[in-house]
């Protein structure tokens, strides 16, 4: 063990350098400067600072977690080392940037960036602060291994909540402003941007205190519902609560945040559809936006008075749009049935582009409006009410998501889902089992296309117009990313993935600029550390973590036998 410990200096230095490198990268792409305006704790601590200091903290934490069983002295030393190394890399950047003009290559290498990195101090003391804070970050991470787990867990919770609440200030203030007597106290916690220092301390104390108290409480047996009747009651109560909350969201959130919610739900709608194609049947479809476009354009062509002497209403056109999408799904499905894996992905990619280019073309301008798109698309009317605000359209999205999620869930747990899974696992054997792979693949394509098309019709109705450029290839990629991040084949995963990938860039406008950078990094990190996704399908989790689970079971069994031995 001793020799192993001494040989850890090198990897520790490496980790520190990597952390520093990440911090430099984040600074040079401009994230630090962009986020510096957004305070977590007003006037004290900004998101920009979090961005360049967090790499040290996280790297140190993961490094120490990986190398267990060190003496406490070593833990602090390694943490310190990683922090200092990372800090040194940043110091190097500041020295380079202030002495040479790097702007020719790195446009964000401005004096503003270096002011931020030196905390608006003169160079020498600024660098000392930078280095010291980096070191503190490293040591902070090691601290979490030294103090009792109950305390460290509470502290981590406290810090996470302060970060989140500080970032989501606008959302929280909007939501709580309708809470009457509570609105005032909540608002007093916040400054113009982020939390007030006192507010932050209060929040930290509250959250970590609560967490500490709850963790210490022994779980009383009465709390666990033992009877199945109780459990099913609890189950229904949870669902009912969730549905009521979902129904109440628009009035709580207000117009601006309802609009974000609409986007999130639109992507959930598409995500559930693509999840059937990619997650269940294993057919990688990169041209998924095509069906969204077909849904939106069918709605446009049939209901816009621009193109139509006798325009339909939304509800009249909806079945036609749905049929068009299913047919398109079948048309795409037929030629690609023999293809697998990469080839399928490329062909579907082409299909997506063809649809967009057809919509854009001058040749079809009389029908699809070319680059001008289609305007004056009908909005859904229920009774005498026109659904035209973001809040009203949310209910349409919600209804769509509800129906589609239900269908996807039922299909997954049926003969259909099993058959798709078998095709995904081994197509040849599936065929040998008597499965007509043509029919089942087409069914997956058509179902996925239908769901995407429904999203398209609501999208068209929401904007009352469609343009070819909103049928971008990136829409397909977004949907695919949210499935992967949420968890392939998992229905709740689509919700989580969409909320994270679609919601967060809208909530934090600064993020939008770095959206794809963050997606890329997130995808890489996810694949390395959590390939099953944020909310994985139970089965997927088993597939990917079988060994760990087995090892765990082994350890448990061993512990049991040794306990039995000692009992004897």
């Amino acid at each position: 063990m001793q020799s192993q410990n001494t040989s850890l200096w090198k990897p520790a230095i490496q980790s520190g350098l990597i952390a520093g490198g990440v911090a430099v990268l984040l600074s040079l792409v401009g994230m630090v400067a962009t986020f510096n305006q957004r305070f977590i704790i007003s006037g004290v601590f900004s998101m920009g600072q979090v961005i360049f200091l967090a790499p040290m903290l996280l790297m140190s934490y993961f490094f120490l977690r990986k190398t267990m069983a060190l003496s406490s002295q070593k833990i602090v030393l390694y943490g310190l080392l990683i922090g200092v190394m990372g800090g040194l890399v940043l110091v190097l950047l500041v020295l380079l940037g202030t002495n040479f003009n790097l702007q020719a290559m790195f446009i964000n290498s401005s004096s503003k960036l270096y002011d931020i990195l030196t905390f608006n101090q003169p160079l020498a003391p600024g660098l000392m602060i930078l280095l010291a804070l980096s070191a503190v970050m490293g040591v902070l991470a090691s601290g979490s291994f030294l103090i009792p787990p109950r305390i460290s867990a509470a502290v981590i919770q406290g810090i996470t909540w302060v970060l989140l609440v500080g970032l989501l200030r606008d959302l929280i203030i909007t939501v709580t402003s309708r809470w009457g007597p509570l609105a005032g106290p909540v608002k007093s916690l916040f400054a113009v941007s982020g939390l007030k220092p006192l507010g932050a301390i209060f929040l930290f104390a509250l959250i970590s205190g609560l967490y500490y108290w709850r963790n210490g409480k022994p779980v009383s047996p009465a709390q666990k519902p033992t009877q199945t009747k109780d459990r099913s009651l609890l189950f229904w109560a949870k669902w009912a609560g969730l549905i009521i909350l979902l129904l109440l969201l628009p009035p709580i959130l207000g117009i601006f945040f309802s609009d974000i919610l609409d986007t999130v739900f639109m992507y959930i709608l598409m995500g559930i559809g693509l999840n059937i194609v990619v997650g269940f049947a294993g057919l990688l479809d990169l041209g998924y936006v095509a069906f969204f476009a077909i849904g939106a354009y069918t709605m446009g062509v049939l209901t816009s008075p621009e193109l139509n002497a006798d325009p339909m209403t939304y509800w009249q056109a909806l079945p036609f749009a749905m049929i068009a999408c299913v047919v398109a799904g079948l048309i795409l499905g037929l030629p690609v049935l023999k293809m697998r894996g990469d080839y399928l992905a490329i062909v579907t990619l082409g299909f997506g582009e063809i649809v967009r280019l057809l919509a854009l073309s001058d040749w079809l301008r009389p029908w699809f409006g070319g680059s001008q798109g289609i305007q004056l698309i009908a909005q859904p009317v229920i009774g005498n009410m026109v659904l035209n605000t973001q809040q009203e359209l949310y209910y349409l999205f919600l209804l769509g998501v509800g129906i589609v999620a239900f269908i996807a869930w039922r299909l997954r747990d049926s003969r259909m889902g099993r058959t798709w899974m078998a095709i995904r696992e081994d197509e040849d054997v599936a065929i040998a089992m008597g499965i007509n792979h043509v029919a089942y693949k087409l069914m997956a394509f058509a179902t996925g296309a239908l769901f995407s098309g429904i999203a398209g019709t609501i999208f068209a109705a929401k904007l009352q117009s469609v343009y070819p450029h909103s049928m971008n290839f990136l829409v397909s990629i977004n949907v695919l990313c949210l499935i992967i991040i949420g968890g392939m084949g998992s229905i709740p995963g689509v919700f989580v993935g969409s909320l994270v990938l679609m919601g967060s860039p809208e909530l934090l406008r600064e993020f939008a600029e770095y959206r794809y950078l963050v997606y890329g990094a997130l995808l890489v990190v996810m694949m390395l550390t959590r390939p099953e996704g944020l909310w994985p399908d139970a089965r997927r989790k088993l597939e990917l973590h079988e060994e760990e689970l087995e090892a765990e079971a082994h350890v448990l069994a061993e512990a049991e036998t040794s306990a039995m031995k000692s009992a004897k």
């Binding site: 239900f406 269908i407 039922r410 299909l411 049926s414 003969r415 259909m416 889902g417 099993r418 058959t419 899974m421 078998a422 696992e425 081994d426 040849d428 054997v429 599936a430 065929i431 040998a432 089992m433 008597g434 499965i435 007509n436 792979h437 069914m443 179902t447 089965r539 088993l542 597939e543 079988e546």
Partner: protein
């Protein structure tokens, strides 16, 4: 009464004759073996019967019905089922799910039924799960239904693969080296098990096998392939004494006595 008849089956890959003019007749409820050295075309023949390959010449018929050139899923629907030389289970599905997929030809649940879960679909699902459990018990995997296929031990995977093949209620079962990689006692068990399949379920069995002890003890009739050609056919005793077979297995000259083998220069 012959259940499977092959007449003049020829399969070419480019210039290579993987099978040339194979004639074969398998009687109902027989245990029939195909043997031969590596690359003799045994698995190719299986692939022709199950529809994965279409032979260039010749006719294969099942119970008098021509099945040449039918797609594999059609052939399965007609009552042919198979296992693979290297086990090909759906690894990330549970044992019961594997069998349920095998039952595919008999299930009727469709898209709409699966979504609304009408009484018939629910009933069918319940019955098929019960049948899957019965099949598991039949192959000696009782209580292992919820385990992932890939977590089963090797022998159990072989059995599960057979259970999956049985789930389609075949008339003809093609077993591709079912005892590959097994130790003598496991092999003995498998031999018993194959006999039971025939005796209790009354399934005709076509077998590819390398272990001579298994082949000779279990088969009623044997066909020997070598370089894609049928070189012999007969009962185990006939095959054991056939000079051509011995030559194919042991090399030229072996049949006429070991003493006279010319040393290779």
């Amino acid at each position: 009464m012959a259940i499977l008849v092959a007449k003049g089956v020829t399969k070419r890959f480019g210039g290579l004759n993987a099978l040339s003019k194979i004639d074969l007749e398998v009687n109902e409820k027989a245990i029939y073996s195909i043997i031969g050295p590596n690359g003799a075309g045994k698995t190719t023949f299986f692939n022709c019967v199950t529809g994965f390959y279409t032979p260039e010449e010749g006719v294969i018929s099942l119970e008098g019905q021509n099945i040449t050139g039918l797609s594999p899923d059609r052939v399965t629907h007609l009552g042919v089922s198979r296992t693979y030389q290297n086990i090909r289970l759906f690894k990330n599905m549970t044992a019961v799910e594997n069998i349920l997929v095998g039952m595919h030809p008999h299930l009727k649940a469709n898209l709409v039924g699966s979504i609304i879960r009408d009484r018939r679909t629910v009933q069918e699902e319940k019955e098929s799960v019960e049948e899957a459990k019965r099949l598991l018990q039949f192959v000696g995997l009782r209580g292992k239904g919820d385990l992932m296929a890939m977590n089963l031990p090797y022998g159990a995977q072989r059995r599960l693969e057979i259970a999956r093949a049985l789930a389609s209620r075949p008339k003809l079962l093609l077993l591709d080296e079912p005892t590959a990689g097994m130790n003598p006692s496991e092999t003995q068990e498998m031999v018993h098990f194959i006999r039971r399949l025939r005796d209790e379920l009354e399934i005709t069995i076509l077998l590819i096998e390398h272990q001579m002890r298994v082949v000779m003890s279990i088969s009623e009739k044997i066909t020997v392939l070598d370089f894609g050609e049928k070189i012999a056919e007969g009962t185990p005793v006939e095959i054991q004494n056939n000079p051509q077979v011995i030559e194919a297995y042991l090399g030229r000259g072996a049949a006429s006595g070991l003493g006279q083998v010319q040393p290779v220069a």
